[in-house]
């Protein structure tokens, strides 16, 4: 069929498909963020706020803690990445899953678990001993727990594809193991190292839930100050100015990391993961334990303490804390904590559905709509992931308050915000699968008599079903734990679990503390189930694992 002979509906098909994700982004991301920037500029407050000495101090502390967290995380994460990617360990899949858990664990759960751990071991200052709670050390530690998974995932995923023989060749040529690490492995890992460090820094720079729960009131960052000015002091001008400052920093950072990644790329990775090496000597076994031990302990200890604390009742153990979740008490929530669980499940399911529809359509456009528009959309969809959640929530609150888009009091606004963060995950898992489809299969279907639409459905549809499910599970898990944007948007009488958890943690009293631990455990369990679903559905040899 010639291009001229195409029916009108087919010429309009691509723009129609593309319009859904584009409109979604424009309405729910560009418009809110644009509103903040507009607000900050028209008020003339940006320069004013930037000139304050306190702003400089705030930015300095935010950058400082993020940089320190990144260095610590790389130091603990790199050995673990090596062990997981390169060594054939018994129970390798389980170990890997364990190390990766915090990647999707809600920040509030990590915060709650660390608080529980500090209390359990007397590090909260109560016994007059060493105090970690409400110090900068607690922040660094929490970021470490949270982000080791990022390093293991990003660097380990890349490492598994590096041909070990280059290192062996260097050994035979006379290089020591240390020399091989420095001269052969490090230069080839460089793109992954920069990428991991960039992501970790970004997460720590815009970190919110963790800072609020373990850093205490004396340790504000740009992100927490946006939230405080917007919600507690209702000083929208200052909040908007800080949000602009943060957006600018994030943009510069992302561009810099992107540049470093491309500069250091050697483009030389194996097509399939290299099989891991067996452990044959006791020395090697000790090395593996030393490499993996700290990362595992950081993940396992706080979670075990969280569960233990949730079961602690008085001097013994029991399920009283869990039973209390069903009751509406004087807990500062207005509702029973269990209602929050129901809310979260509902919101997360809705967010996953929105993410799958918008992300699925976007993936089709990214793959098939030509290089430039495809790349542009792909990049545009990634931006919300790098934008701070608080800025996003704050922007939606400011922008979507007038008819015809008055969503402020609508329940729909929560899953929409959460979907924005979930969409990139759907796209990331679907695009490679679509790209891997051999176009000759589609041609074969056409030759056998299938219409173009039919051929696409029959060939691409079969492949994409599974990856869409993976994306949906990711979006679901992330929505369950989303706190920054949700804390702005959830109605007080309909809190999600992280919002409820935050309020419970802010209340005094052992009873409510026990309930918080129980609620945190429930949230961790729900997330863990989503992760297990992802692990089962994920294609085995996917590069991104």
């Amino acid at each position: 069929m010639t291009a001229r002979g195409r029916p009108a509906w087919r010429r309009l098909a691509w723009p129609a498909v593309a319009s859904v994700p584009v409109l979604f982004l424009a309405l729910f991301f560009a418009f809110p963020v644009g509103t903040i920037i507009g607000r900050g500029i028209t008020d003339g407050s940006v320069l004013d706020v930037l000139r304050r000495r306190s702003t400089g101090q705030l930015l300095w502390f935010t950058v400082w803690q993020a940089a320190a967290s990144t260095v610590l995380t790389m130091a603990v994460g790199l050995p673990a990445a090596w062990a997981v990617a390169r060594v054939d360990l018994p129970g390798r899949r389980l170990l890997r899953a364990l190390v990766l858990v915090p990647f999707v664990l809600p920040t509030l759960v990590v915060g709650a678990a660390l608080r529980a751990t500090f209390e359990r071991f007397g590090l909260d200052g109560s016994g007059g001993g060493l105090r970690l709670q409400d110090t900068v050390w607690a922040i660094l530690l929490a970021h470490l727990v949270f982000n080791v998974a990022v390093v293991v995932r990003v660097v380990g995923g890349y490492w598994a594809f590096l041909d070990p023989r280059a290192g062996e060749a260097a050994r035979v040529l006379g290089a020591s193991r240390w020399r091989v690490a420095r001269s052969v492995v490090a230069p080839r890992l460089a793109p992954a190292l920069w990428s991991a460090a960039g992501i970790v820094f970004l997460f720590c720079f815009t970190s919110f839930g963790v800072i609020l729960t373990v850093g205490g009131p004396g340790r504000p960052t740009v992100e927490t100050e946006i939230w405080r000015y917007a919600t507690q002091r209702t000083d929208f001008a200052t909040a908007a100015a800080l949000a602009i400052l943060q957006l600018a920093t994030v943009v510069v950072l992302v561009l810099a990391v992107n540049l470093l990644e491309r500069r250091t790329s050697t483009g030389a990775a194996a097509r399939r993961p290299v099989p891991p090496a067996r452990v044959r000597s006791w020395r090697r076994r000790l090395e593996v334990v030393a490499a993996l031990g700290p990362a595992l302990a950081l993940v396992v200890v706080p979670l075990v303490v969280l569960v233990e604390r949730s079961l602690a009742v008085g001097d013994g153990h029991g399920l009283a804390n869990y039973r209390a979740l069903g009751r509406t008490t004087d807990n500062g929530l207005f509702v029973a904590p269990l209602t929050a669980v129901a809310n979260s499940l509902l919101y997360a399911a809705a967010a996953a559905a929105v993410a799958v529809v918008v992300g699925g359509l976007a993936s089709v456009v990214v793959v098939h709509a030509g290089r430039r528009p495809g790349r542009a959309l792909d990049l545009a969809l990634m931006v919300p992931l790098g934008t701070s959640a608080v800025t996003l929530g704050f922007g939606m609150l400011l922008a979507l308050d007038e008819p015809p888009l008055d969503l402020r009091s609508s329940r729909a606004i929560v899953p929409i915000a959460q979907a924005l963060v979930g969409i990139p995950f759907v796209v990331r898992s679907t695009v490679p699968a679509l790209r891997a489809v051999d176009p000759r299969q589609r041609e074969a279907a056409s030759v056998l008599g299938a219409s173009p639409v039919r051929a696409r459905l029959a060939v691409d549809g079969a492949v994409v079903g599974r990856t869409l499910l993976v994306g949906a599970a990711f979006a679901f898990a992330i929505s369950l734990g989303e706190f920054g944007a949700t804390s702005f948007l959830a109605r007080p009488d309909a809190p999600t679990v992280p919002v409820a958890l935050f309020r419970l943690l802010g209340q005094p009293g052992a009873e409510l503390r026990g309930q918080a631990m129980a609620l945190g455990t429930v949230l961790a369990a729900l997330t863990a189930v989503s992760v297990l679903v992802i692990e089962r559905l994920r294609p085995r040899d996917a590069l991104g694992w």
């Binding site: 280059a166 040529l173 006379g174 483009g267």
Partner: protein, 347 residues
């Protein structure tokens, strides 16, 4: 098991001596009680089918794997527990394993760099070995601009640069096309014999082995089953497996050999092509055996002729290469028992 014949350097304490090397991967023995000696200046080809443990043996010798049993020594000094960087051996990997983030010059100079050779001397040596492999002036090139043959030469230059006392080459020509392979095999022989270092070449291709090495070691399922000068191993393969692997066409089992009158029925035999004389159909009976030409394949200078010779029950297929092939149809053959090589009774 068969005592693999020993090479020239054995027992003198000079050169490489591997003794009783074994390595198991789970239930399979990748390398099983291997004893091998290589004298300085000797070029040995290690041949065997894919997966027989050749590469693993090289990795054991290089120190990249630790053996479950046995030892590796050079010049009488035990190296078994030495790491790869302390052995002074060179290993050229299958598919080359060049460092993609370094230029050709930096790849070739790496071994000298870790030995802290001063930059001017290093540059000189790099230029020297690059010239030796026919790539003079390639120092500044990046790895991704090299053709397959060039990458192979760079890998060779890289393993030669630090002047290893033993050079091991794992399927060095494996990934190249046929014409390039033949040319490079020739060059490789010239380089190795010119240097006078000990060398072990792993290959699954017997032609490549003949082209490069003086001595051939045959490996099967982790064990060395035959070891000797190339011509000797070809002429007296001793084992049916070795005969077939080295490309002998006419290997007959014991009863078949007896039926054709070329054996006493106690062992299998190799009927060398020199043993087979075509005498024409009329001479059947007059010392000749009735046969049929069943297939003629043009091979260039010669043609491969398949004969079906009347045996005990039914025909026996034998192949010969002839410059002027006979037409298809009846013929007769004379078999010369002195050109028939008896093999060991069992393999």
């Amino acid at each position: 098991m068969v005592s693999a014949g020993t090479g020239t350097g054995a027992g003198t304490g000079e050169g490489l001596a591997a003794d009783g090397l074994s390595l198991r991967f789970g239930a399979t023995a990748a390398v099983d009680d291997v004893t091998l000696a290589v004298a300085p200046g000797e070029v040995v080809a290690l041949v065997g089918p894919s997966g027989c443990g050749k590469s693993t043996l090289l990795r054991l010798l290089a120190g990249l794997e630790a053996p479950d049993a046995g030892r590796v020594a050079w010049g009488g000094r035990d190296l078994t527990r030495r790491p790869p960087d302390g052995r002074g051996f060179g290993l050229m990997f299958q598919d080359h394993a060049l460092f993609p983030h370094r230029t050709v010059g930096e790849n070739v100079g790496f071994g000298l760099q870790v030995q802290r050779v001063a930059p001017p001397a290093r540059r000189q040596r790099v230029a020297e070995v690059l010239e030796l492999v026919g790539l003079a002036g390639f120092e500044g090139r990046t790895i991704d601009t090299l053709s397959g043959g060039e990458a192979q030469r760079v890998a060779l230059a890289r393993s030669l640069a630090p002047s290893p006392r033993l050079l091991m080459l794992d399927e060095p020509l494996g990934s190249l096309d046929r014409t390039l392979r033949e040319r490079l095999a020739h060059d490789l022989r010239a380089v190795l014999t010119g240097l006078g270092t000990a060398a072990i070449l792993v290959t699954h291709d017997q032609e490549e082995a003949y082209a490069v090495a003086d001595r051939i070691v045959v490996m099967r399922a982790g064990r060395l089953v035959r070891d000797g000068p190339a011509a000797d191993v070809w002429r007296h393969p001793r084992l049916e497996f070795v005969a077939r692997f080295l490309g002998h066409d006419n290997v007959l089992d014991a009863p078949t050999a007896a039926a054709l009158g070329v054996g006493d029925g106690s062992c299998p035999v190799v009927v060398r092509e020199a043993a087979i004389g075509l005498v024409g159909a009329d001479d059947a009976g007059a010392g000749g055996r009735a046969a049929r030409v069943v297939d003629v394949r043009f091979r260039g200078a010669t043609s491969r002729v398949t004969l079906e010779v009347a045996g005990a029950d039914g025909g026996v297929l034998l192949a010969v290469h002839l410059a002027e092939p006979p037409p298809l149809g009846p013929t007769a053959v004379v078999l010369d028992p002195s050109q028939v090589e008896p093999l060991d009774r069992s393999t």
